[in-house]
Amino acid sequence: MPLVEVHDVHKSFGDLEVLKGVSFDVRQGEVVCIIGPSGSGKSTLIRCINGLNNIQQGSIKVEGQEVNDPNLNLLELRKKVGIVFQQYNLFPHKTALENVMMAPVKVLKEPKKEVEERARALIAKVRLGGKEDVYPGHLSGGQQQRVAIARSLAMRPDVMLFDEVTAALDPETVKEVLLTIKELAAEGMTCILVTHEMGFAREVADHVYFTDRGVIVEHGPPEELFTRAKDERTQRFLSQVV
């Protein structure tokens, strides 16, 4: 059974239909990249998977549980699905360590000592050992984004969503964030990424989806999609960005 099943999803903001029937599956341990021009609905799609955006039609299942269900236990869903945003959104009044510890302690009510151990290990894992007591305002964009990844991992999710996580970063800090994600993928974490980093998508993705104007135009393994795109829209987009 796929870990995430997206089936015929429609989503509108007022009169504007952003997603016009999108379907795809993600299996356990798979790394999926969603690429496409701005405004094609990529971010909206990824945000629907953890229920930040609701959908009007279709079905999204995470581990068999329907997300588009009014009686859904959001806590259960969000324990399973972690998300990292373009703007990091760290809590500025808390140190890096406190940012990572907060949700497990306050929401999951896990013992503080255990969580702290885990949080320190996660911070070391994203190569920020020594920055535990630093406030987000004193970290670079790339460092903040890695804290955000650690914060999300602290909830022990089964799948991680990355919403253009390098788009707001300085070029020199993009690499360190991509490296962290790459290591995560190598460990077998299921990842769904919306990205503009084509080289990265080509390198780490098991499967790439090209979206345009609310639909999936074409998809396939990266080698195939990046070298032998069939659709004219895909070819045009790739020729512009690669």
Binding site: N50, L75, R78, K79, N89, F91, P92, V107, G137, M155
Partner: protein
């Protein structure tokens, strides 16, 4: 075409004229000097008969009495600020409630008390709030005038605290709510752990400003016979023979008294404002 807005006020330009920004430490000393000089002038003017004590001597004699009244000003200001803060925070959060039934009354209360003269609120509370309230245990609670005045002063400040809180909450970027939501925080937990702690820094300087305004407003209670500093000063002048030469030194003393209390608060507020501006 350029739209002309004749009634628009440039807040930034205006603020540079406001006393809180314009007054520096040395200017405070200057004010003190002017006060002392005018006191001497008042003294020189008063050609009192030999048997009556001078205006200054009278003032010194009654000073403890006036200071005792000033303690009531402080007590009223503290209590009113406490009430205003607790109710204002609740009201400010209700203004942002998802439920219209909670939002609408909170909005009305906030705007009603923000946009009414304090003196009128004071009279209304005096007239509407009963002197005695029966408690469930059968005992009666006496609401004396100073308690009523405290309640009255707390209302406009409460409404302004409500707006400060509402404004601070909406000024927190949406991303904070989103990331909290995606980490499984409920709306209440997000407010408690993430949003409100970030609001505190933004809200403290305006909150302190309102405290200063409140403390300065407490002498209004004297109109209704509350024996605070101004009321006591008036009573003292009456008792000392209601001599006209007492007026200037007594009121100047009151001025200095309130200034000596409020001015440090205003300096402190500005220091905090600057500190937080640098930090964020």
């Amino acid at each position: 075409m350029k739209t002309v807005r004749p009634f628009r006020i440039d807040a930034e330009a205006l603020s540079s004229f406001l006393p809180s920004r314009a007054i520096r430490g040395w200017q405070g000393l200057l004010l003190l000097g002017i006060f002392l000089a005018s006191l001497a002038a008042a003294q020189a003017q008063g050609v009192a008969a030999p048997q009556t004590p001078s205006a200054i001597a009278t003032l010194i004699e009654w000073m403890p009495f006036i200071l005792k009244g000033f303690v009531l000003n402080l007590v009223m200001s503290f209590l009113a600020m406490g009430i205003a803060t607790v109710l204002g925070i609740a009201l400010g959060m209700l203004q942002l409630s998802h439920s219209r039934l909670l939002r609408a009354p909170a909005w009305i209360i906030t705007h009603l008390f923000r946009n009414s003269p304090w003196l009128v609120i004071l009279f209304v509370v005096m007239l509407l709030v009963p002197f005695e309230v029966e408690l469930p245990g059968g005992r009666n609670l006496i609401l004396s005038d100073w308690i009523k005045a405290t309640i009255a002063f707390s209302l406009p400040v409460m409404a302004n605290v409500s707006e400060i809180v509402r404004g601070a909450i909406v000024s927190i970027p949406r991303g904070q709510w989103e990331s909290a939501e995606s980490l499984a925080f409920t709306r209440g937990q997000t407010l408690r752990w993430i949003i409100l702690p970030q609001c505190v820094k933004r809200a403290i300087p305006p909150w302190m400003n309102w405290y200063a305004l409140l403390a300065m407003a407490t002498p209004m209670a004297s109109i209704l016979g509350v024996r605070e500093a101004v009321g006591n000063a008036q009573a003292a002048m009456e008792a000392a023979g209601a001599r006209p030469e007492l007026l200037v030194p007594f009121y100047l003393f009151l001025l200095l008294l309130f200034f000596a209390y409020i001015y440090p608060i205003s300096i402190w507020t500005r220091a905090i404002e600057r500190k937080y501006a640098v930090e964020t």
